[in-house]
Amino acid sequence: MTESDLIISTTNLTKKYRKKSVVENLNLAVPRGSVCGFLGPNGAGKSTTIKLLLGLTKPTSGEGTILGDSIIKDSVRIRERVGFLAQEPRFYEYLTARETLRFIASFFFKGSNSKIESRIDEVIYTVGLDKKADRPVKGFSGGERQRLGIAQAAINDPELIILDEPASALDPLGRRDMLQIIENFRGRSTVFYSTHILDDVQRVSDMVVILNNGKLIAQGNIQELLAGNRSQFYITVRGDGSTISDKLQNISWINNITIEQGIPDVNNDRTTKLQVNVTNPSTAENELLRLVMADNETVVTEFGRTSYELEDIFVDLVEGESENAR
């Protein structure tokens, strides 16, 4: 991937407050057009990273670019092409939603009022605030404020939208709607959003960046990350699985086998799940099930390549990183 394919790129980006590193040697590479989930536990440095990217705080060392512009020298130009929603968006309470958007639009556009008004109407409709557009923000619920936050972030039709915890304070319905709005940006803008709700990332993102204690611990395509270890397979068999386990132990391309208790089958009979780690995944793909099925007494109820939930990966990575740090 070349530099021009990246919409966000940082090199050893570091932010220290006094002597404490909040963000440390961060090397981000977010491709254009992606929906990138920026994950990390509370206090990991996600919000600080976002502020660094927008030039709202200055890095202690390192550098970065957004859309090819320096986050240190060209932050005003960057903010012209980026939309941002803060973690707890605050607006002028005395303005209505429409006035708020008119105010924000005036940072970007000049000239024909009718064109600006139709753009405002468009984003109000997109976020579903059309019935509340002329009410003061003061009376808005959390979800409505978040919608307004998205609308003001999208008003300039940005190439990149950065959202800081957009769904964390919302109820399940609000979260669902927010994810739908994020999904709607796909193909029009790159979306970079921080969250600690792993399920949301798995649902809408195609890329993930994981941060812990200010350090980057994983970054990449979410499908690859979820596919996990390509050399791990699982077989669920009826019974205790000892016969088949003994048989497989002698196969040269099988590394090791872990046995777990399986969920009882439809007849409520006992099952056993074998996690099989192999040295040659392509051979295993062709041969493993055949080997197991060759034994007439073995009943296989499940077979497949082990995949992970994002939560498993996240917990493994964060805990592993924390232990290394100790």
């Binding site: 502020k51 709202l56 200055k58 605050r90 002028y92 970007f108 556009f109 000239g111 064109k115």
Partner: protein, 256 residues
Amino acid sequence: MLARTSAKNWLRGFYPIFRKELFRRLRNKRWILSLVVWMSLSAVPTISLAGGNSSPSVSQGLGMLSLFLWLGTTPMWIGTIVISQGAIVEEKLTQTLLWIFSKPLSGSAFVLGKFAAYALFIAVMMLGIPALAVGIFAVIYGLTVNYLLGYISSVLMIYLLLLFILSLTLMLGTFFQKISSVTAIAFMVYIGGASLNVNRYLRLIEPYSFAALQRYAVQTAAGSFPMQAYFAIGVTLLLIILFLFIASWKMERYEF
């Protein structure tokens, strides 16, 4: 196709801030309330105290102007501090500052936009219309028209004094996180300036400082423009520019 704004970087966002601040002050016919308040605090007491005691004469008209320039402007400098004390600190406290600075807004445009909006409000609502009313009544009470040029110069000097207080208060807002700190220091500076005469050494600089502007305004309205007023005007202007520069510099470096 929407046309994109093309202001220079250091002025990016000036117009939205300027317009928003004016809207805040004047929205929903609030300007009527502002006008009533400022007329009641400065023009009405002056007109009722100085007018109608004797038959119309030049001296009665001049007395009205002097009363307005001395006493009528006192609520104005207090009012300038009061209306602008939270202009920047409130944005920090409510965190709207983070929001607006995530848009293409430079620190200098933020400060200058606020300054321009408040300056316009002061020029029209706080000083301009009451001064106009007093001027009209002064003419009715016997002031000859040839004094009006001096009166306009006097009002401009008072305006400069109010802009000095405004720029000082805005600058203080960039340094502090509490409105009370801004208010206290702004009051101390103004009262300290007005008290320069109590010390025999400080008394030497008083004629060249902002503190003398009110006295020069009264003298100018009466027909005598002291030469030292030029220095006081120059120094005050420079201080306003310096305060705005420092405030802009501070906002450019503000970390969220």
